[in-house]
């Protein structure tokens, strides 16, 4: 099987890697680039633990071929915090204890950031629907929703 050569941008950095034609973007991020923040939960697009931004759109990286990322821009959880400081969503998740085991957390954070970038003032129903593709099996949804709503409110005041 011949390997694909992929040139892409990950979290603002020009990156290249070789991958199998059938390899997912999630596997390439984790195994080729060492970016293990994106998690594999279901590998079928149901759980959202592998959520990344691809050319500005929220997607499941388990449902993207790594080869498709050629020439595109990928943003992962690793790019979310600034230098030496967490993103306000990350800080709020910690403050409110909006996580238990943490496997779903990177996906929730990437998805929640995508929501707030598009809609800085979502109501609770909008947050719940937007995050319906992110599953938390510790069932900690209420704290997660509250963290997103409170972060949105904080960011609007800035």
């Amino acid at each position: 099987m011949s390997l694909q050569h992929v040139t892409t941008t990950v979290n603002g950095d020009a990156t290249e890697f070789l991958c199998d034609a059938a390899e997912t973007l999630l596997d390439a991020l984790r195994d080729r680039l060492g970016l293990t923040g994106s998690k594999e939960g279901c590998a079928s697009g149901d759980c959202g633990a592998c959520s990344v931004m691809l050319d500005g759109r929220l997607v499941c990286s388990c449902l993207v071929l790594a080869a498709e990322a050629d020439g595109r821009e990928v943003e992962t959880i690793e790019g979310m915090a600034g230098t030496g400081e967490l993103h306000p969503l990350q800080t709020k998740f910690l403050e409110l204890g909006a996580l238990q085991c943490g496997i779903c957390t990177p996906g929730f954070l990437v998805a929640a950031k995508a929501l707030l970038d598009e809609n800085p003032d979502p109501d609770e129903t909008e947050v719940r629907y937007w995050l319906a593709g992110n599953l938390c099996r510790c069932t900690g949804y209420d704290k997660i929703i509250r963290a997103v709503l409170e972060t949105a409110a904080d960011l609007r005041e800035e």
């Binding site: 694909q4 997912t24 079928s44 929220l58 071929l65 998805a111 319906a132 593709g133």
Partner: protein, 288 residues
């Protein structure tokens, strides 16, 4: 497996036509990658059509809209023109999966996956949408959307052909459409029954044109001619809507499975057809 991302439609159809083994078209990949992962399909060739110019565009044409095969649901849902013209088609597409799935899944992919429960297909059929099929040697033909998916997982596409775009026609004045589906939860499930209605009213509120299409109650989406007849020439009064409900239930040809029994699906098909007609007529009234 070989991955190709051609830059022209002719290259894409040429690659598909010359492939000796199984070839698959990749647009949003939300069905294909799941099938690859589970071993359901082991293609020799995957042709990613997203690098072909125009594939991700929504373009005004003859008063209607042409939607490229690589337009994801999220882009369609943000397009004011399509949302105004065909809200029922847009709501059907937006029911497919989560925010993440909407970032990738396409209307054409939903059609070509050929699931009997595909949400966008009844809505497109009710809208009178045409699929533009590109074939090898640069051929193009336009066929009604209902002629593409002909059975569970089966399309009428010949080897080397792909659906390049969907054309949603111009909506006459006082027209509206709607799509409803029943699932056992509020989000992210496969339709137990789907119902799409598109209709046009005259100045007095009398129905002059109608299409009624059911999903998930047969091997392919089902046009209910009697359903259209039940509301044509009426003001969609209670009697007409009751008649529509009766004939839609009678037309359904569902199977028993874990999602619902035959009698349940029949009952729901009628209820959803009636409710969708009601919403479509309200929307038509708002667009006078």
């Amino acid at each position: 497996m070989r991955y190709e991302a051609p830059r022209t439609l002719a290259d894409a159809t040429g690659m598909l036509a010359s492939c000796q083994g199984t070839a698959r078209v990749l647009a949003g990949g939300t069905d294909l990658l799941v099938a690859l992962r589970s071993g359901l399909v082991e293609p020799e060739l995957v042709v990613d059509i997203k690098r072909i110019p125009g594939m991700a565009d929504i373009v005004a044409e003859d008063g209607g809209w042409r939607v490229g095969a690589a337009v994801p649901g999220a882009a369609l849902g943000h397009h004011d023109g399509v949302c105004r013209a065909w809200p029922g088609v847009v709501e059907a597409v937006e029911l497919i999966g989560s925010t993440q799935i909407q970032g990738r899944a396409t209307m054409v992919g939903n059609l070509c996956n050929a699931s009997p429960a595909a949400d966008s297909v009844p809505a497109m059929m009710a809208a009178g949408a045409l699929a533009r099929i590109a074939g090898p040697d640069g051929t193009e033909r336009d066929v009604p959307v209902g002629d593409v998916a002909i059975g569970p997982g089966v399309t009428s596409l010949a080897p080397g052909e792909l659906v390049a775009s969907i054309f949603l026609p111009e909506t006459p004045a006082r027209s509206g459409d709607a799509y409803l589906r029943l699932i056992p939860r509020t989000e992210m499930d496969i339709a137990v029954v789907g119902a799409a209605v598109s209709l046009t009213l005259d100045e007095g509120g009398c129905c002059t044109a109608a299409k009624v299409v059911l999903g998930a109650v047969g091997p392919r989406a089902l046009v209910v001619e009697d359903g259209a007849a039940a509301i044509l020439g009426t003001t969609l009064d209670d009697e007409a809507l009751a008649a529509l409900e009766r004939v839609a239930s009678a037309a359904a040809r569902p199977i028993d499975d874990k999602r619902g029994t035959v009698p349940y699906r029949r009952k729901v098909a009628g209820v959803l057809a009636r409710r969708a007609a009601h919403i479509a007529s309200r929307r038509a009234g708002e667009k006078s």
